[in-house]
């Protein structure tokens, strides 16, 4: 049982870790675009804003379990396989990017418009305002947003067993529930709770450190 639990924990960390990384890489620029292209912001492009908003909403409204099987062709192209932990990273990322982008959007909107005006008055370019003012000022909120997203990814990853990706959720369902080994289910749940607690504490600590 111990071996199974250890393996499942690693599988979960592997899937969540990689998909979290890709989510930040893709979701952060998307969130920035959602903000700066909106009306009255740095680079107003209402049409682009509406399209991006619609894409994000579609992504957010699909139940993960459906997304997981719906994107199998894309997964095969990107990951080279449609089963296993690597195959889970693609749908996990697709599910988390719109979620994280909305969180980024909210954090960036918290930044006082006066600071953007100050940046313009100082002769900063739009890119400079984003990099030197908008993102640094929103950093504590962004870190908190990453924490929320990673926790959501852990939750999604429980369903990744459908594509044979393993992980704690899969172990709990397949051996624990379907195999009548209740102790395994309990162990998996404890491991998940501990994981989420640890990540949330780390995220809170970082966000606090960054606030002045």
């Amino acid at each position: 049982m111990r071996e199974a639990l250890e393996l499942a924990t690693w599988e979960t960390l592997y899937m969540v870790g990689w998909s979290a990384l890709w989510t930040v890489v893709l979701g952060l620029p998307l969130g920035v675009l959602l903000v700066v292209t909106s009306r009255g912001h740095l680079a107003t492009v209402p049409a682009l804003n509406a399209v991006l908003g619609a894409i994000v909403n579609i992504g957010r409204s699909l139940p993960f379990i459906i997304l997981l099987v719906a994107v199998v062709p894309l997964t095969r192209t990107l990951a080279g396989t449609s089963i296993g932990p690597n195959a889970a990273i693609v749908p996990l990322t697709i599910a988390a990017v719109p979620f994280f982008a909305r969180i980024v959007e909210t954090s960036l909107r918290e930044v006082d418009a006066g600071l953007l005006e100050t940046g313009q008055a100082l002769g900063a370019s739009r890119l400079q305002i984003i990099r030197k003012i908008l993102l640094p000022e929103a950093l504590p909120g962004l870190v908190a947003g990453i924490t929320i997203t990673v926790v959501a990814l852990i939750s999604y990853s429980a369903m990744a067993g459908v594509v044979g990706a393993g992980g704690l959720g899969d172990l709990a369902v397949r051996r624990g529930y379907q195999g009548y080994e209740t102790d395994i289910t309990v162990a998996c749940v404890i491991a998940l709770v501990a994981l989420v607690q640890a990540l949330q504490s780390l995220g809170d600590f970082l966000a606090r450190r960054l606030t002045h």
Binding site: D112, G114, L115, E117, T118, Q120, A121, L122, G123, A124, S125, Q128, K132, I133, P136, E137, L139, P140, L210, T211, H212
Partner: protein
Amino acid sequence: MITLSDVHKTFRARRPLFGAKKPDVHALNGVDLHVQPGEIYGVVGPSGAGKSTLLRSINLLERPDRGSVIVNDQDLTTLSATKLRHARHDIGMIFQHFNLLARSTAIENVALPLQLQGLSKTQRRQRAAALLERVGLADKLDAYPAQLSGGQKQRVAIARALAVQPKVLLSDEATSALDSETADEVLALIRQLRDDFGLTVLLITHDPYVVRSICDSAALLQDGRIAQAAALTELTPDSPLARRLKIATLASETTGSTRHRFVDVPEVSYA
């Protein structure tokens, strides 16, 4: 140094989803304004008169619909985006609520414009430290804005505005959020910096006291137009601007400077 000619700005109301469309706001209706080099020039007027829009049209934070904005012999309305950004380096600006980066220290805030210009880290620190020393904050280099008083924050903002050695300083109600004693200190600092650096200062304020205490010239903005503009020494007591500034009597002092006497507003007692 600054010449506005026939500047118009209208804020068009957007058609709301429900209800009647609000009327467009004609913030500036043909403003003509001329500020001499080295002068401290105050614009006063009732709230809603367009003071803020006027100030923001000088560095084109608000682009006028019509008219020209000439700063330092350059018509800013004709410049490309890149050239406008360069022109803005010559125009410092300070704000009522300071607009400091909350997550940056005083010295980092002052170094920001230098960083935007691509100065090296050592150069930035050196210049920023010297500037903070100049505004009396040598001991607050590494303090965050939250650890500073209002007056100290405005000093940091002034140091930041002057970091790239602008020729013009725009002030948007810079002392309005400060208590009167602190406001006096900040005003004195602005005048001192004007004298030392030969700055041209244009400020907007709702407070007649600010104009009386540091301005050489002033203008009264009403309904998006300059109703009257004059050097304070040439102001007649019965003119609208003088009434706005609550100036009853004026007398040039023997030094020939622009200092002047005024009658203090009587204290109201509610006892």
